[in-house]
């Protein structure tokens, strides 16, 4: 299984030009970092859009002259236009889900970690890997270009339900902006497919000697299962997006029925079905939320075990529940459609599968708790964020149980309760895991340490900020405040919500501002951070046996050989509180971790 890739010969790498090394690189680590940095930039953009949303919801109708001067298109006279508000909502969701979390977790962490954690020198298809990254910036350009076309960016929500998204005359944002949105998504999906193929093949084919599937760290398991999910789910959205493009540009009618009138003008389509899109969209949409939460689950498992100095509890149940979740996630999409007009029996069926999926989620949660039990918890920044992930995931997962029951979901569907639910369980939880992963693997990525004190500040402000921002949204949902409304002021049943919305908006601003601590820490440490050792956290997995940062090809001439599972923390009768996966069974314990890093390792 272990084989050396010829182009990765360490000696020739030094001769690669700057462009081939850092820009059009085929090295999985460089590609991972490219994905991560690009995603970070997109996260800032997505965050700014969220601030626009909160600005409007906190103070509807208020005029902001300064912003009016900066964004004369979206905020004429300083007052946000309705079309711009919806564009902000749509692009915020689209960017955060597809262009930040998916790219960061699978493209960033997946690329960087998979080969290093399985003892491979690179991905199975490095060229395809490079291509995968280089489809991402064009997708961004296409997406962002839509802000500058007539009608502005797409305004139909990240779910893009037709006919609104199919008929250019239906809304300003349904014009060219919507077309660009679809094209950008299609391009990005191709990138995801390249990536997924690569991850699956790599995990199956390139594991080093001794690395059986049941010795894989949970991070790798998670990324592997995620890749399978993506590979099966994204093509469906790709097909749907192309069909919608045909409806828009080619005169087909997949999603548009006969007899529609926009304003007073008849629509020239017949024979389509708007619900078809909803089924296709959510067939991807629900697995997609697990694409965004499985990698965090894996990363958090490893970080918890490492910082509690304890083996992960219930490794087999963890793997099993991950596979179960992935499988079930293809069978629950209809829980987004209880009120859509699909047959009520389908509602019953989808409720059943949805409540079934809560069980493996509960298993994982309790396994994490059991991992902490009688551990020796070290509060590194990475650990704080991992613990934060647990708290957020639980809070959000529980509200899913409310939404899963169709009679109750009738009321809560498309209200802020749903917004609160998925911001906890998916958005915030995944971001926390990404922060945990960044604090944890930064030393390996860049060979320098992040500042732990700043990390703690960052954690506490973010944790408080998240709860302050999203928890009150449940109450807005209780009152029945609909999603995606420009202003709640007109409705009798929403009177009295204003203070809550102001509070949420203020909290969101604080939350956003707190992220500057992270950005400062990140970029400062990149250049000034103290040098990282090979294994600063006393971790067991293979990436920590490579130098920090690992050279091209990751290890010297010989690859590490795996002797045990990934969770040998605090084994009895050992002097040291961890045994790397490479530690030979017979080796007297207590030797330097560096000395255990593979056989005959040399630094170039």
């Amino acid at each position: 299984m272990a084989h050396a890739l010829p182009h990765l010969d360490a000696r020739t790498v030094g001769e690669l030009s700057f462009w081939r090394r850092y820009i059009f690189s085929q090295d999985h680590k460089v590609i991972g970092i490219q994905y991560a940095l690009t995603s970070m930039a997109m996260a800032v953009l997505g965050g700014v859009l969220a601030l626009f949303i909160r600005l409007q919801l906190g103070w509807p109708g208020r005029s902001w002259p300064l912003l009016g001067r900066l964004f004369p298109g979206g905020m004429p006279e300083g007052q946000m236009s309705q079309a711009f508000y919806l564009a902000a909502v749509t692009m915020h969701g689209t960017i955060m889900i597809f262009f930040v979390l998916t790219t960061l977790l699978t493209g960033g962490f997946g690329n960087f970690l998979i080969p290093l954690m399985i003892g491979a020198r690179d991905m199975a298809f490095p060229f395809l890997n490079m291509l995968s990254y280089w489809l991402y910036p064009p997708a961004i350009v296409i997406l962002l270009a839509s802000f500058f076309v007539s009608g502005g960016a797409a305004g139909g929500g990240w779910t893009a339900y037709p006919p609104l998204s199919a008929l250019p005359q239906a809304a300003p944002g349904s014009g060219l902006g919507q077309t660009l949105w679809l094209v950008a998504l299609a391009v990005l999906i191709v990138a995801f497919l390249f990536g997924s193929l690569n991850y699956i093949t790599t995990v199956l084919q390139l594991r080093t000697r001794g690395m059986s599937m049941l010795r894989l760290p949970l991070t790798v398991w998670a990324l592997f299962v995620t890749a399978i999910l993506s590979l099966l789910a994204f093509p469906v959205l790709l097909a749907a997006a192309i069909m919608l493009l045909f409806d828009r540009l080619g005169g087909t009618s997949f999603f548009v029925p006969a007899g529609l009138l926009v304003g007073t003008t008849p629509v020239d389509h017949a024979g389509g079905d708007p619900l078809l899109w909803q089924h296709l969209f959510w067939f991807l949409g629900h697995p997609e939320v697990y694409v965004l939460i499985l990698p965090p689950m894996g990363m958090v498992s490893d970080i918890l075990a490492n910082n509690a100095r304890k083996p992960i509890f219930g490794y087999r149940f963890m793997v099993g529940s991950m596979v179960a979740i992935a499988f079930l996630s293809f069978l629950v999409w209809g829980h987004h459609m209880y009120t859509s007009g699909m047959h009520p029996l389908l509602g019953t069926a989808f409720m059943t599968t949805t409540l079934v999926i809560a069980v493996p989620s509960a298993i994982k949660t309790f396994n994490w708790l059991a991992t902490l039990w009688r551990g020796k918890i070290r509060f590194t920044s990475a650990m704080l964020f991992a613990l934060g992930f647990l708290s957020l995931f639980v809070t959000g997962g529980l509200t899913g149980i409310v939404l899963a029951q169709p009679p109750v979901d009738i009321y809560f569907h498309d209200t802020f309760f749903v917004v609160a639910h998925f911001h906890f369980v998916m958005a915030s939880a995944a971001i926390f895991a990404a922060f945990a992963g960044t604090y944890y693997w930064f030393p390996k990525m860049f060979g320098r340490m992040l500042d732990e004190r700043l990390g703690r500040w960052h954690f506490w402000l973010t944790f408080a900020g998240i709860y302050a921002t999203f928890f009150p949204m449940h109450y807005a949902g209780f009152m029945g405040m609909m999603r995606r409304i420009y202003s709640p002021q007109l409705y009798a049943h929403l009177q009295g919500l204003a203070p809550l919305n102001v509070f949420v908006s203020l909290a969101a601003f604080v939350l956003f501002a707190a992220q500057s601590i992270f950005l400062y820490n990140f970029f400062r440490s990149l250049f000034r951070g103290p040098r990282a050792e090979r294994n600063p956290w006393g971790a067991t997995t293979l990436e920590w046996t490579a130098p920090s940062p690992p050279p091209h090809g990751n290890w010297g001439p010989a690859l590490p050989v795996v002797q045990r599972w990934a969770y040998e923390y605090s084994p009895p009768n050992a002097a040291q509180d961890f045994l790397p996966q490479t530690a030979p069974a017979a080796v007297p314990v207590g030797r330097e971790p560096g000395a255990l890093g593979g056989d005959g390792e040399r630094r170039r």
Partner: protein, 261 residues
């Protein structure tokens, strides 16, 4: 510690919200079991919330690094089965309860139910009553005219001659009878909308090309609001409608006054 604060904060916030930010007062019969199911679920998840966040806080506190050695303990079949089976049982209970209620909500409306059609459009609602003959006339979108024929009725169909069409976003309201079931048939003229009446716990999408249905029984007289719950364009947020629930006598009198001369 902080997680303890969090649990306390969540409880306090919920108590405050109970008074200020809660479900709007209920005004329909089938909303009662819905609210009950919601409250039961809320109780369950609140308990689970406190349990899990509490355990998390406790473990983080108890097992912080004080120089102890972590225990090497990573498998316990009985424990794992417990927390597989207990949630599974709870979920099964909820599934059964919710499935029954869902089936009732989607059962056929009782005989004698009022039947109205509501049509959603960018950005308002129109309603149609079948008139004295009790039958809705045919619709032909090609005959639409904003003033003369806003519901696009086909004049060739005699069943449509007496249909009563109202603009329930501006001039009129959807009149319903207290304690009398009503079936609402929903159409959409342009894009997907959603007929949401918070006080009745009713929400049903109006989908172009389909007629979707929902039925419920208003239980209190008064005026209620229809909201559009599905994003439908820039003015989605103003897409309101009005419902008036009155006694049968008041309703009959109102209806008689509407009939075209």
């Amino acid at each position: 510690m902080a997680l303890g604060l969090l649990v306390a904060g969540a409880v306090v916030a919920t108590l405050i919200a109970r008074h200020r930010w809660w479900l709007p007062p209920l005004a329909s019969l089938q909303g009662r079991p819905v609210d009950r199911l919601f409250l039961v679920t809320l109780a369950i998840i609140s308990a689970a919330f406190m349990l899990v966040q509490g355990l998390l806080a406790l473990f983080v506190w108890l097992y912080r690094d004080r120089g102890q050695r972590a225990s090497y303990w990573h498998e316990h079949r009985a424990l794992e089965l417990t927390y597989t089976i207990v949630p599974a049982v709870v979920m099964t209970g909820l599934t059964v309860a919710a499935a029954g209620l869902w089936a009732r909500i989607h059962s056929a409306p009782p005989p004698g139910a009022l039947v109205v059609e509501v049509r959603a459009e960018q950005f308002g609602w129109k309603a149609r009553y079948p008139g004295p003959d009790g039958r809705f006339g045919r619709i032909d979108p090609r005959l639409f005219s904003p003033r003369q024929n806003p519901f696009a009725l086909d004049p060739a169909d005699p069943a449509g001659q007496d249909d009563l069409v109202l603009d329930i976003s501006t001039s009129a309201a959807l009149h319903l009878v207290v304690n009398r079931p009503v079936e609402v048939r929903l159409r959409a003229k342009d894009v997907v909308h959603s007929f949401f009446v918070p006080a009745f716990r009713v929400k049903q999408d109006a989908v172009p090309g389909m007629v979707t249905r929902t039925w419920f029984t208003p239980s209190r007289t008064g005026t209620y609001e229809i909201a559009c719950a599905e994003l439908c364009g820039p003015l989605h947020y103003i897409m309101r409608g009005r419902i008036v629930v009155q006694t049968q006598e008041e309703f009959d009198a109102w209806l008689a006054a509407q009939v075209r001369p």
